[in-house]
């Protein structure tokens, strides 16, 4: 279970998070939606400790994240970064197998490579891709390699930052299914950021909308369409008119 209590974060005068409180039950898929620049990526980075929140508390299974032993703490997580964040000095398979070749989860090279190729297959990439370098891949392929890396060590908690952005509709469908499978079969807890409403419906157990630095609405995905929240309604129907000012 992930519990966020009153998380605040400002960059200079830009107050991005103004008191985010949210609970993600264990083994559930939480999807975070919200306008561009509302701090969704920053929120995930706060949980991982990549960005230090100015205030607030983050509890993972009841344990305070800021007090946890870093290495063991991070070993429980997988993260797909919005930009992929692949290591461009390493071939694709070594990117995917990065965690499998070092530290506590270290295993023989051949085995790590095999796992990497299997994970690549699951995100719809052929084994030939394994020996290419990230710079030789298209944007959507890089995204999927990032996804394969995030799930390679089969972590308990996985964060996906816009997993289907830049993918064709079929591939997006494949990835949505994969994320669903990971939650259902592996029992992982997932937090996914997406702008794609069909993705939200395919992936989510629960949805949370971030707006104005706080969680504007949260609830089961089934309640999303009759929430009565004007902000959420405007967002999911993509209307230019409404309480959220589209032209700033």
């Amino acid at each position: 279970m992930i519990e966020l209590r009153d998380i605040r974060k400002a960059f200079g005068r830009n107050h991005v998070l103004r008191g985010v409180t949210l609970t993600v039950p264990k083994g559930e898929s939480m999807v975070i939606i919200g306008g561009s620049g509302t701090g969704k990526s920053v929120l995930l980075k706060c949980i991982l400790g990549l960005v230090r929140p100015d205030a607030g508390q983050i509890l993972i299974e009841g344990e305070d994240a800021s007090r946890a032993e870093r290495e063991a703490f991070l070993a429980r997580f997988g993260m797909l970064f919005q930009g992929g964040a692949l290591f461009d000095s390493l071939p694709v398979w070594q990117n995917v197998a990065f965690r499998l070749m070092r530290g506590a989860t270290k295993r023989p090279k051949a085995e790590a490579r095999e796992i990497a190729i299997e994970k690549l297959r699951r995100v719809g990439l052929k084994p030939e891709v394994a020996d290419l370098f990230p710079a030789e891949l298209s944007g959507g392929m890089q995204k999927r390699v990032g996804l394969a890396r995030a799930i390679a060590a089969e972590p308990e908690i996985i964060f996906f930052d816009e997993p289907t952005t830049g993918l064709d509709p079929i591939m997006a469908g494949v990835i949505n299914e994969l994320i669903r499978e990971i939650v259902v079969e592996m029992g992982a807890t997932a937090m996914t950021i997406t702008h794609d409403m069909s993705s939200v419906r395919a992936i989510a157990d629960d949805v949370a909308m971030l707006h104005g630095g706080v969680i504007q609405w949260t609830g089961p995905v089934a309640d999303m369409d009759h929430s009565g929240d004007p902000y959420l309604d405007q967002f999911i129907h993509g209307r230019a008119e409404g309480p959220i000012e589209a032209v700033r």
């Binding site: 991982l48 991070l74 993260m79 970064f81 964040a85 290591f87 890396r149």
Partner: protein, 260 residues
Amino acid sequence: MILLNPVGALGRAVLDGLAALGRLTLYLGATLYAMVRPPFYFREFGHAVWVIGYNSLPVVGLTAVFTGAALALQIYEGGSRFNAGQVVPSIVAIGMARELGPVMAGLMVAARVSSSIAAEIGTMKVTEQIDALVTLSTDPMRYLTVPRVLAATVTVPVLVAVGDSIGIFGGYLVGTQSLGLNAAAYLKNTADYLEIWDVTSGLVKGAAFGFLIALVGCYYGMNSGRGAQGVGAATKSAVVAASVLVLAANYILTTLFFAA
């Protein structure tokens, strides 16, 4: 503004420089701490030795040969004013080994290596690769900084040794081919007057320069601003800081060696 208030601009530059020096010192502490704690990434170290050391050989060799050649001409010209043209070989050798070999190699490596380290790590920072490393339970200090700093510390002395030899050879070429000095006498004179300490002091300088250059490159890369502009600024700052630090460290080390 700068035109109107040059003293203010100078003062601000000094203050900024001191603040940067303070942060660099903290970074140095973190690097030393990371160095003594496992894991150590041998592959990264080997790769860094290759990129920093081997790939710098051509530029260090070229600058050394021209420096040694010019030095021979200057000493001959200056020395002949008091009938001391024959000191060319020993002064070229001592000058190269103690001062010009390490300083020229240091400056060339500062330009070549601190910039490429800062740009590489800076790009990793702005494309979230550093964040990705952290989430994959890999400490960027141990994985990126330590291998590069150690590699530069051990390879720059080797570059200095190569540069010394090539520089002395440059002096030999000019001395024997255009100044009409006797080849055998040139070599004997070089060997007779060059002491072990002349060479080793230069190598120690090289190690110190290598350490500083890689440290500065990593520091500016890790603290790069956002976007291409941030990486550009980090690269520029790294080259400037590395060059200044090489010259400052050279003065300090020379003073220490002189007193010893």
